[in-house]
Symmetry: C2
Subunit: 508 residues, 2 copies
Amino acid sequence: MDELTSQASRRQVLGGGLTGAGLLASPGIALAAGGDAAKLAKAVAAGHDAAVQRLRNWIALPSIAAENRNYPAGPEYMKQLALDAGFQHAEVVPTSGKPGVFATLDAGAKRTVGLYFMYDVKQYVPEEWDNPPLEGRIIDKPGFGKVITARGAVNQKGPESAMLAALHAFKAAGLKLPVNLVLVAEGEEEIGSPHFRELVTAPQVMAAVKKCEGVMIPSADQNEAGGVEISLGAKGIIELELVASGAKWGRGPLKDVHSSLKAMIDSPVWRLVQALQTLVSADGNTVTIEGWYDNVRPLSVREKALIADGASKSSQAELMKAYGVQHWIDDLPFVQALERLASQPTVNIEGLVAGYTGPGGKTVLPGKATAKIDCRLVPDMTRAEATAKLRAHLDKHGFKDVEANVTGGYDPTEVAENSRLIRAAIATYKRGGASVSINPRQPGSWPGAVFTAAPVSIPAGSFGLGYGTGAHAPNEFYVLESSNPKIAGYDQAALGFADFLYQMAAVS
Amino acid sequence: MDELTSQASRRQVLGGGLTGAGLLASPGIALAAGGDAAKLAKAVAAGHDAAVQRLRNWIALPSIAAENRNYPAGPEYMKQLALDAGFQHAEVVPTSGKPGVFATLDAGAKRTVGLYFMYDVKQYVPEEWDNPPLEGRIIDKPGFGKVITARGAVNQKGPESAMLAALHAFKAAGLKLPVNLVLVAEGEEEIGSPHFRELVTAPQVMAAVKKCEGVMIPSADQNEAGGVEISLGAKGIIELELVASGAKWGRGPLKDVHSSLKAMIDSPVWRLVQALQTLVSADGNTVTIEGWYDNVRPLSVREKALIADGASKSSQAELMKAYGVQHWIDDLPFVQALERLASQPTVNIEGLVAGYTGPGGKTVLPGKATAKIDCRLVPDMTRAEATAKLRAHLDKHGFKDVEANVTGGYDPTEVAENSRLIRAAIATYKRGGASVSINPRQPGSWPGAVFTAAPVSIPAGSFGLGYGTGAHAPNEFYVLESSNPKIAGYDQAALGFADFLYQMAAVS
């Protein structure tokens, strides 16, 4: 998950310094349903090996949309995982892109909770890993305990499988779920969820999702100190490629030609550079697209207070070290930098590709140049608005030929602090002994707006005890058996998910 | 060769429309040495199969400096090729980079001629080729005849091996060479000849080279119509990488971090974009580096006349089609575009590399961004001057942190129209029936200045009947048996090299 990735590393050093004991220090768990707690804990422990093996099997089948890898095997597998965990109905739902999976579990309960899964994983480069990324090796990680290291370990199969392990435990213990469940799983999260809205608004899916009190993606949300940060929303995003080419420009070559010809032929690469530099200020930090900030809603007093509270509990020095930076933008003090992180939209260059990209040089004048861009959006910006403004800006500045090929994105997500979803999450964390801080808005993005905005309009967010890191990076891992009493292992994470369901049933 | 690459494609459509018959249409060749002609022709024909096999064996051993491939095997092989062809002395000459090869052939003649070889070849991507690039398959090419297709076929092993085939024929026919020979071969031509000056100015090499009337690189210089363009010089070049990084800048991240952090962390990619856009005008065509044009020498009346003559013999429409362009820079008319090509220095972006460059997107804020640049230089610019001006420009505009890592380059080359080298080449071509046009300056580059400038100061240029194309590209080829009577095949090219040596001995 794009948001979690960002958060995962940030939470390592941000977040609460308070620690608790309850859930995590004790072998059992104080579940809302009294005596059911012991039965569930026993069933989770008994099912541990099977659950971990289930996770490893899933890891061995990586669905990667950018590489068109393991479709339809991935969604079929996801469907079967749901059926095995007790969903009575599960189906693969075709979209214009990769299929989604929709499943329902009717427990005869009063309330219904939505689960959002991603079954895809990020690309990886095996050579960069210390262990084979699809094996799911279980290794000792000093300071953490036994961890599983694999692509998808924490982003997102590990926590999702712990959620499924909780459902298996309900079955094994003969316990009824306190809520009904609706599962929506997508296979394009890592390419920006281009067809997720299509999936969620499919008639049978939307009918089910609209009944939910809220929707949650299982995550590993503890930081290294055991604390948890709850987000009341996330930035939106547009991912796109800006492409300058001789073909579209009508100047410069159609394909790469010899570089000496630059003396008589225009260059699409210089064209791209010129187009790019109109998008931001000279320091690269203020977006100069006309009207970009028109709908940027200033932080509220409550949001600023939450940010200040978060800053007071974290170490600027450690954060700077983790990112390898010596200064925030504009040399801002820490709190203001965090306010900027929460409140400001961005235009970022993820990658540049033109001409010869290998070792050394090659004397070509490229026929085409591409900048991979992501723009982060804050309320009340929308993806449609920002996309249109970018296009209008390019046109106005004479770059009608420069393509802006949007590959994915979504609107900002917002969840009310007093929603049942947030209150149940806070209650569960506190019962588990994890300190909680509240972040008004994640700087990263996830397609939560598909749920939180019309026509679905239900709260959405991540939840999960447990720890992992390395999403989108080599040596990604997820803690299975924690050596830190403040951090949940796999079974405790599963019990935390169970408790969350009880809390969703219980909160007023 | 960088210059030949450019020329090879340009010559396909530029160049003379006149055609001749003599050398090419007849089975023999009117060599300067009377009766020797028949003997040589016979020896060349008898040695054809062995010579082609020698070429194929050489092709199978590609030395590629950018990939550190086949060193020292490549120079050792080059040395043996020289000894086999009759050089009495040959040695591998170490440099700070890849070794060179130096060889001498004392024929007891009055004059000495230098041969410049490159034993390295350009990188290649086998998947892009119709035939395996190291096999040297001989195929039928409609309109051309039997050709050898391989990496290095025309750039430069094919023509070089034809020169060696001529020397083998002298041996086989028991004929004395009309001139003494000095061979200097380098293995880093395709990375910009970073140590070529070091090679040529090694004491034993320079002592030998300074005795030469001129130095020639064997080439396939005919265009599709059979005409030849002789160049009186070539542009110089600097190849370099401009690198912006968090490490050098002191802002932004040390390595790639999550892209959402753009809201609080500076971007080295935007830094690079900003630095780049200071280098050229808004249209990308005029260099804005301070003082860049200070030493640009205007074209002389003679140079303009030569360009106009060349333009009159070529087709603008065909040239535009070959390059895939609809307009020259500034919508210049053809002759002015060619004048610009000959007279103007450039700053070209060969490639851009930053962050994620694979398919789709990846939400990173890169810690580093690189632009691969080549600058073409005209007389009286020098590489040292241009490099210093680029650095000064970056510093002045506040980009002291942006690295300009020069990987290679050389000064412009100039050769007098009335030098023996040029006169012998023109005489040989005319005897061979090939129409000749004169180009005052190639737009590409080669390290000829190492020869033409102090301390060596001898004329230098390419020479060769024959045809080939695809240098630096897939499906490179060189004609072995020509189906076009106006274009030399392999044996005729070898005889042309032999005749050139006679002409070098004969011209006053």
